[in-house]
Symmetry: C2
Subunit: 187 residues, 2 copies
DNA sequence: TCATCTTGTCCACTATAGAAGACGATCACC
DNA sequence: GGTGATCGTCTTCTATAGTGGACAAGATGA
C-alpha cells in the first residue's frame, strides 16, 4: 500500500483558512469569488471534505495563486519546527537593528526575536499593528517604549502588553544592545 | 465568479501519466503502490475525473514526491512555449559537446539541439535508447554515424531514422562543428 | 427592544469520485 | 492455433463531494 501516509487534507484546510482570513474575506465572499459554494468551503476548512482538483483550482485562482504554490504553503504550514538556520532574519544596514521571525510559518501566534543596538530609535506606526494583540518582553539590556503620549521604561525581564493602536517608538537608552521578544496574534 | 479559468485537471492528468510511465509502472502497479484503484487512475489520466486531495496525496506519495512538487511539475507541463533562455543546456567540458533540450518539458516528442565540435567522437550505447523512436537530422557540417556494424555518412540536410537498438558512435569528420537535431519519442 | 445584516454551520438532494470486478485487446510462449 | 499472462478501459455500485437554502448566533443600529 502507500508508503508515506501523507494526507494533505488538514494542511490544505489550515492554509485555506489562513489565506481567506488574511484577505478579510467571509465564506460568502470567497464563495462568490471562486465559484465554490460556501458550504463546501466550510467543510474543507473543517476537514470534513477532501476537495477535488477542480475545486482546489478554483480556490487558488480566487487567491491569485498557482495551485502548486498554495499546496507548497500548505505543506510548509505543516512543519512544526522552525530551525534557527531557516528563520528569516531582517537587518537594517543603517542602525544594525535585526529582527528574526522565530515561529514556524503561518502560526496563529508569532514570535519575533529583536536586537536593538545601543542608542538606536525605531519608530512603529499605529497602522502597523491594528487588529493585533501584542506583548513586548525584554530579554536583556534596557528599552524605553513610547506608546502614544506615555513612555514605559523596561528593564530585563519586564513584559509590556500593548494597548489600543498608537504611534510608538522603540529606544535603547543603554550602552549594550537590547534584546527583546515581540509576541503577536491577530484578533 | 472565478477570474482565471485555471483548471488543473488536464495538467494533472498529463503529469500523472508521465510520472507513471517514467517508472515503467502499469496502472495495476501504481494502484498497488498508491492504494488508489486502477480504474480511478485510468479516469484521472483521461481527464474523466477530478481527483480529490486525498487521492492526489496517495498518488504523490507513491511517486515519493511532495504533492506541491507534483502540482508544480504539472503546471510547468502546461507551458507550451519553451523560451530558448529557459532551455536546459548540457556541455561536456572535455570535448565542447553541447546538447540543448529544445522541447517544452514533458512533451511526447522531444527535440535536442546538439553541437559536436570538429574531430570529436561521442559513443551512444544501445541501452540509452531502447524503446525509443529516433531520427537524426544534420543541420550543418558533417557527421559520421556508426550504428552497430554500419556507418552512415551524413551531409547537410540529411536525416537518418535509427533502426533497432545498437551501440552507436557520433563522429564529426569535418573541420567545422556539426550541428544536428535528435528527435525522439517513446513507443 | 425589535429589525436587519452578516457570520458560519447544518440539512436535504444531486452529481460524481472512487472501488471491485468484468471485459476485449495485445503479446509471449508452448 | 491455442492458452495464459498483462495491458487499459468499461460497467456496476456505493460513498462522498458539491450545491442551494434554511438556520441560529452575534453584531449593528434605529
Amino acid at each position: 500500500m502507500q508508503q508515506t501516509e501523507n494526507d494533505p487534507v488538514p494542511a490544505i484546510a489550515m492554509r485555506l483558512k489562513i489565506e481567506r482570513e488574511a484577505r478579510g474575506w467571509s465564506l460568502a465572499e470567497l464563495a462568490e469569488r471562486s465559484g465554490v459554494s460556501k458550504a463546501m468551503i466550510s467543510k474543507i476548512e473543517r476537514c470534513e471534505a477532501s476537495p477535488t482538483a477542480t475545486v482546489l483550482g478554483r480556490l487558488s485562482g480566487a487567491f491569485g495563486l498557482p495551485l502548486s504554490v498554495l499546496l507548497a504553503l500548505a505543506e510548509r504550514a505543516q512543519e512544526r519546527v522552525a530551525l534557527q538556520a531557516e528563520q528569516p532574519v531582517w537587518t537594517d544596514p543603517e542602525t544594525g537593528y535585526t529582527r528574526r521571525a522565530v515561529s514556524p510559518p503561518n502560526s496563529l501566534l508569532e514570535l519575533l526575536d529583536v536586537s536593538l543596538p545601543a542608542g538606536v530609535r525605531v519608530p512603529y506606526p499605529a497602522s502597523a499593528f491594528a487588529f493585533q494583540h501584542q506583548q513586548i518582553w525584554l530579554l536583556s539590556g534596557r528599552l524605553d517604549f513610547q506608546e502614544g503620549p506615555v513612555t514605559h521604561h523596561l528593564a530585563e525581564g519586564d513584559c509590556l502588553l500593548l494597548g489600543p493602536p498608537a504611534d510608538c517608538v522603540f529606544f535603547n537608552p543603554g550602552k549594550e544592545p537590547a534584546r527583546y521578544v515581540v509576541a503577536l496574534t491577530r484578533r
